[in-house]
Structure formats: C-alpha cells, structure tokens
C-alpha cells in the first residue's frame, strides 16, 4: 500500500478519497448484484479507462498489482469449469479482476493520509463511545510507517548473524532473530512514544487532517 501512490496530477488524483472509496464500494455491489457478462466487461473497461486514461497510470503499475492474484483467478476458473460451467466462471473472474484493478487505481491515485482521513471520518460516530477517531487514524498511519522499518531491522539482524557465520534455518533462525529484534522494537517504541509527546500528539488543540470529509 505504501509506495503504491503514483504522484502525477490528474482529475482522479484530485478527486476526494471518500468519493473514490464510495465508488469502489458501489462497483462491488453492482458486480455482485448483477453478475452478467455485459456488466463485467463494462466494469473492467470503465476501470481501465479511468486508470490508464483519466488517471494517467502506467499499465505496468496496474499489472504489478493484478499479477499476484492471477493464479487464484485461474484456479477459480478451473473450479467453476468443474462444478458448473466455464461461462459462470468467466463472469466471476471478470468481476474479481475488475475489483482488484479498481482497488489498484484507488491506491495509486490516493495518498495514504487521505485514506486514513476517510477512516477517521467513518469512525467519527464512535466518538460517543469514547473512541478518538484521530487516534485510530494515527495508529493506522504508524502501522504503515513501521512495518517496513521493522522488516528492515529484521533483515539487518539476519545479515549481522550471517556475517558472523550464523547459519540457522527455519525455527532456530526465527528464534535467534526474534530476541534481538524484540529488543530493538521495544527501544524504538520507547523513543517513539517520547517523540510523540515532544511533537504534541496529546495537545488538545489537535485538528483533523486536511481532506477529512
């Protein structure tokens, strides 16, 4: 999700994140409610025109998102061919392909922050239950931020162990990297909590993000 944003200027990029997510939801409802060839073909064509045309995304970028799910789609087609018929399977395949591509278009044209803002907006009614939507948003943003950081630290620990001749594999390798990684993560978390304090995360003046609607 991170790094999938493709920064060019287009009407699709400028469209509100909430609108894009709502369109995505509407598309999936339509595809599941009306599982026919014309709707499937129309949807995929519409998504491709939006993504490649209006949003000026490179075909390569969409392909990279779609490729990993292709084996699943092929299996699904085979399954339908066995239990019912290829045509039904084709509609299902088209439907999923449209949705995966549409989701790729949304993530490539929407900044993480805008998506998080929508989540904050959706959580706003939970305020009455004492939930702080901006906190939910911050947690999501921090998760996206720290997944690659922690992955990188894990890789560095593994390298350091390999450099000293460590050759543990499987479960043993996990154990030997997990402990030092845990130590690093705890230290990171400690500094992070201080940095949040120092940067005023608890200040009551805090305002919602730009684009929260």
């Amino acid at each position: 999700m991170i790094g999938l944003y493709h920064p060019v200027s287009s009407p699709v990029h400028r469209a509100r994140a909430g609108l894009k997510l709502a369109a995505l939801a509407a598309l999936s409802v339509l595809l599941f409610a009306v599982p026919t060839w014309p709707v499937g073909i129309g949807a995929l064509a519409g998504v491709l025109v939006t993504g490649l045309g209006a949003a000026r995304l490179p075909a390569r970028l969409l392909w990279r998102q779609v490729r990993p799910v292709l084996p699943v789609l092929v299996l699904l087609l085979a399954y339908y061919a066995l239990v019912s018929d290829v045509a039904t399977g084709g509609v299902v395949l088209l439907r999923l392909l449209s949705l995966v591509t549409a989701a790729a278009v949304v993530t490539a044209t929407t900044r993480v922050g805008e998506l998080v803002a929508v989540v904050e907006w959706l959580c706003a009614p939970l305020r009455v239950l004492g939930v702080r939507p901006e906190r939910v948003g911050l947690v999501i943003a921090m998760t996206l931020r720290f997944v690659p950081v922690i992955a990188e630290r894990a890789a560095r620990i593994r390298e350091a162990q390999a450099a000293r001749g460590g050759s543990a594999r499987g479960i043993r390798a996990w154990a030997t990297t997990t402990v030092p990684l845990l130590v690093q993560v705890l230290q990171l978390a400690h500094t992070l909590s201080e940095a949040l304090d120092a940067r005023g995360a608890d200040d009551p003046a805090r305002r919602p993000r730009a684009g929260a609607r």
Binding site: P7, V112, A141, R145, L188, A195, R199, R209
Partner: protein
C-alpha cells in the same frame, strides 16, 4: 528575522513574556534508586550550547529535562519562566526535541504527512499547514520527496526530515540528542550546517566534537554533574583531559 520569529504568536502561543533563559535550580534526577544527575544549577542564555561527556554521564537525561520528557526528582527546571513540572504543555510547545534515531521519530508513512503531523497537533488551520510544510521541505532539500515513503529516504534525509518535522512547529528552542551519530561525514556536515544556521536557541548533545565549532558555550558532564563549563576549545580540552585518564 530573529525578532519576527520571537514575536509571532505561533512561536509562543501561550507563553508569558520571554525571560530568554533556561534555568535549572538545584536539579537532580534519579531513575528509581539510581541517581543519574545531581546538583545542577545553571542559567542557559546563549544561543548555541553544546553538551559532551562519557557514555552514561547523564547527557540525554539532562537534555530530556529541558522539555519535560524527564522531570526533575529534585529542584526545578524553568524554560523562559515556565516550569517543566507545572506548565508542561507550554514548555513542550516552546522546546522542540530531535532524537538520535530518525526512524523512531518519523510517525507517518510519507514525508509531507509526517511534517504536517506536528502542525495538526498545534491546531494550525489546513491552509497554513500546507504552506508551512512546503516551505520547510524546500528549506531542507526534501521538496522532491513530498509523497515518497519515509523508509526509502537515506539516513541523512531521514534526519533532515525529523528536523523539519520539529522546526515546522516553530519552537523558540530546539534540543538535539546526538543528531549526527548515525550519519556519514557528508550528512554530519549538512546537519551541522542546518544547526549553525538556525535562528532558534539550541542545546546539542554530541560525541562529535567537530559539531561544536562556533558554539557559545559547552557543558562537560561526568558522573551526573557538570565538571566543566566553558567556550568550546577549553571545554573540549577539559573533556580530553578527563578521558585520557581512563
């Protein structure tokens, strides 16, 4: 420039008239039973103050006292007349803090969003936030990286991002705890230049003695107290002297 900064409401949103000093009165700090700082009586008025000393001598704890990340277990710390113990929020708004490890202080996945974070916390309106983010990214050579994932930046760029995220909040003072330790020589110099050019008063904890060139005053810590307090050359000489005996 300096005058304008001091008097804009953003720099001192709710502070009283500045007395222009950080004062430590009879300050001590203990973690549990462990006394790590003792007998600190200091008045800091200089623009550039360095802090050096051996590992474990209490430098980071001292730095953290200055914006209330740590509170004194005896005595008091006053920042422009505000007590870190009783007026913590006002002190935090006044004193920015940059840590050694940039990875631990960048909280948002992309560059511009991270810089904006502190401004949201200050309650700055969206339009002004956008302007200030753009200005500060330009100043630190990050304008071309606005929407880039923070984890793809180089170590030096990450530290500049961390500094940008603090300076965009326009604190009156900035405390740095070993800001150059993880950087290569070119990036060390770059961060040193950024610090040298700041309008704000700074306190810089460092093991990088080169960073202290041009500083007004350097404190040498040992065993939880200040053992030398002098201009850089004299302080560094005292520090080297201290270390040569170990």
């Amino acid at each position: 420039m300096r005058l304008r900064r001091r008097t804009t409401p953003a720099a001192a949103p709710d502070g009283p008239v500045t007395t222009g000093a950080v004062e430590l009165r009879g300050v001590a700090h203990a973690y549990g039973d462990r006394q790590v700082l003792r007998g600190l009586d200091l008045t800091l008025t200089e623009a550039k103050i360095g802090v050096i000393g051996a590992n474990g001598s209490g430098k980071s704890t001292f730095a953290r006292l200055l914006n209330g990340l740590a509170l004194p277990t005896a005595g008091e710390v006053l920042v422009d007349g505000l007590s870190t113990a009783t007026q913590l929020r006002a002190v935090r708004r006044r004193v920015g803090f940059v840590f050694q490890d940039p990875d631990a202080q960048i909280v948002h996945p992309t560059v511009a969003e991270d810089v904006e974070f502190g401004l949201q916390n200050l309650g700055v309106a969206a339009g002004e936030r956008a302007e200030r983010v753009t200005e500060v990214l330009g100043r630190y050579g990050l304008a071309g990286h606005r929407d880039h994932p923070a984890h793809l930046l180089s170590g030096g760029q990450k530290q500049l991002l961390a500094i940008a995220g603090v300076l965009v909040m326009r604190p009156a003072r900035v405390v740095f705890d070993e800001p150059t330790t993880l950087l290569d020589l070119a990036n060390k110099r770059r961060v040193a230049r950024v610090i040298a050019e700041l309008d704000q008063h700074v306190v810089v904890v460092t093991h990088d003695l080169e960073l202290l060139a041009g500083f007004d005053r350097v404190l040498v810590f040992d065993g939880g107290t200040v053992v030398a307090d002098a201009p850089p050359d004299d302080a560094v000489a005292a520090y080297l002297d201290l270390m040569s005996g170990r």
